[in-house]
Amino acid sequence: MPSDTVIASAAAAPPGPVRAFWNAFSENRGAVIGLFAVLLICVVAALAPLLAPHDPLEQVKGATKLPPFWVEGADPRFWLGTDAVGRDMLSRLMFGARISLFIGLSVMVVSMVVGVALGLAAAWYGGLIDVLIIRIMDLIMAIPSLVLAILIIAMIGPSLSNTIIAVTIVYLPRYVRLVRASALAELSKDYVTAAKVAGVGPFRLMTVTVLPNCLAPLIVQAALGVSDAILEAAGLGFLGLGAQPPTPEWGAMLADTRDLMLSHPWVMALPGLCILLTVMAINLMGDGLRDALDPRLRKS
């Protein structure tokens, strides 16, 4: 019957993987809002030198501690006011987005690459190498994240790049354990055995055959890892152990302005608000990714 075949072929054409993912992702309104907020922040960060009305480090004489536009006595040149030494808050916040995203992304990329390598190695070799890698990861996880980051900073000194190193080490175990667990689960499946029988070498087997099937949880972890890294780095900056002044890093900006808190609350409130909104946007997006990529959780 011709009509039946038409229906069958229409139903049999499933949406492509990207399309299916987008359908599942866009079902979640919050996730889409999060995605657009993240994109907006990325654009601001990328174009900060063009968008910022002032140099973030320039100290304008006679324009210190100006309030933002909704408070009386604001200066139209400085929309969000100025800090204690007359630097434009809006420009500093825009450049701060750059630094925070840079930290978040570099931590994510480095810990993911190293984590995937170690995780796959642990899963493939097993035995002593597996035990060694897992023990070291256990040790890293036994020390509270911020305390470990502080310990590493104490050894290598406080700076922006050292913040990235410290936070990367702190977050490494998550990726290693995740990759190892999913790779172990995949290794026992038939298609891996088939690939082995077909004579695929171990490197190709792990990276081309096994890894793509472990990607879904890894992508989710990577998205949420960016927001965690931003928070951790801001915490270090606040303690004076991260990016050093006058770098416009959000956490360090907060620490800078603690004595102004009572008389000029916005100088303290604005950088924190930026951290909160950025992290929230990434988490919203990450939750959406998890729901869309992990079929087990899709229902709830």
Binding site: A142, I150, M155, M261, L262, G272, D287, L297
Partner: protein
């Protein structure tokens, strides 16, 4: 069960050995040899430097130094603070009750609000309550807690004048000897009128700040765990039997839904202690977190070394206990490979 316990215990041994090795190496990697630093001191001769080096055991081969360090740790010798010249263990134990009290109150706050919020969100899934609660949870989960603390101080203490800004005790009005080290207990023992209320007021803001992230985590976990349990057959059976909604949710569902939640709370000790570093710094709370940060700025590396060793040991032990308890409740874990 005994095998499960022994195996779990044995697994912590290599972790402890590596922990000792890392903290031992750490003090040798930080910039500035403790002896070289003193070279500039007035009236210090090369002979005296050699003597100091010998006293601190720094002229020994490195493996001997490591063994001495481990030997000391096994005998409760965690080193001596350069600044206060007191044993690290003593300093740690004096400050630890303050941190313990704070983390306990924070967890209490998080659990008492997080669990009911999660249950409500799950039961009224998709409703306005659910969406609002999960929105709030997301905010809490994304909160930079150091900023949150400052905002709360600004609003609650400076504008409304409801809570004190920092510390554990109002020293102008009250003074009591630390008997247990817990302000809540000591204030009652002191018998001074109003002292307990004062201790409680000092605890409110730090507990809220430290408890915010765990609160969000607990609410989200309780919700998803409840949703899973509500689908189970035994819940349907309980409903079909005609039991009241309250009984079904409170007794049949919640009890089972809470097992993973409680486990994850136990395993969050590390997160809490990390949060305590920031919280204690903001509120000048005299606990181990603030002490660690101050040790860095004072370059008191033995204190940092001993402190990290002790904190990590606490986390390892608590995680071990949680694991064992979980194995006790859930035989599937116990017999798993």
């Amino acid at each position: 069960m005994i095998w499960f316990l022994l195996r779990r215990l044995a697994l912590t041994v290599p972790t402890f050995i590596m922990l000792m090795f890392v903290t031992f190496m750490m003090i040798r990697l930080v910039p500035g040899d403790p002896i070289e630093v003193r070279r500039g001191e007035r009236g210090i001769t090369p002979e005296r430097l050699e003597q100091l080096r010998h006293e601190m055991g720094l002229d020994q081969p490195i493996w001997k130094q490591f063994l001495d360090y481990v030997w000391g740790l096994l005998h409760g010798d965690f080193g001596t603070s350069i600044v206060s010249k007191t044993p690290i263990l003593h300093e740690f134990l004096t400050l630890f009750p303050a941190t313990l009290e704070l983390t306990f109150c924070a967890m209490l706050f998080a659990g008492l609000i997080g669990v009911p919020a999660g249950v409500l969100a799950a039961v009224k899934r998709g409703s306005v309550y659910d969406q609002t609660l999960m929105g709030v949870a997301l905010t809490g989960y994304s909160m930079p807690i150091f900023w949150w603390g400052l905002i709360l101080i600004l609003v609650m203490s400076n504008t409304l004048g409801l809570t004190p800004v920092s510390g554990r005790v109002d020293l102008i009005k009250f003074y009591y000897q630390p008997v247990t080290g817990f302000a809540l207990i000591d204030s009652v023992l002191s018998g001074q009128k109003g002292a307990f209320g004062d201790a409680v007021r000092h605890l409110i803001l730090p507990s809220i700040v430290l408890g915010t992230v765990p609160l969000a985590v607990i609410a989200r976990m309780t919700r998803s765990s409840m949703l899973e349990v509500l689908e189970e057959d035994y819940v349907r059976t309980a409903r079909a039997k005609g039991l009241s909604v309250r009984r079904v949710i409170g007794l049949h569902a919640l009890r089972n839904a809470l097992i993973p939640v409680v486990t994850s709370i136990g395993l969050q000790v590390g997160t809490l202690l990390a949060g305590a570093v920031l919280t204690e710094t903001i509120f000048s709370w005299p606990g181990v977190g603030k002490w660690l940060i101050e040790s860095i700025s004072r370059r008191d590396y033995p204190a940092l070394q001993g402190g990290i060793m002790l904190i990590a040991a606490c986390v390892i032990v608590v995680n071990l206990i949680v694991d064992l308890l979980y194995g006790l409740i859930n035989p599937r874990i116990r017999h798993a490979k």
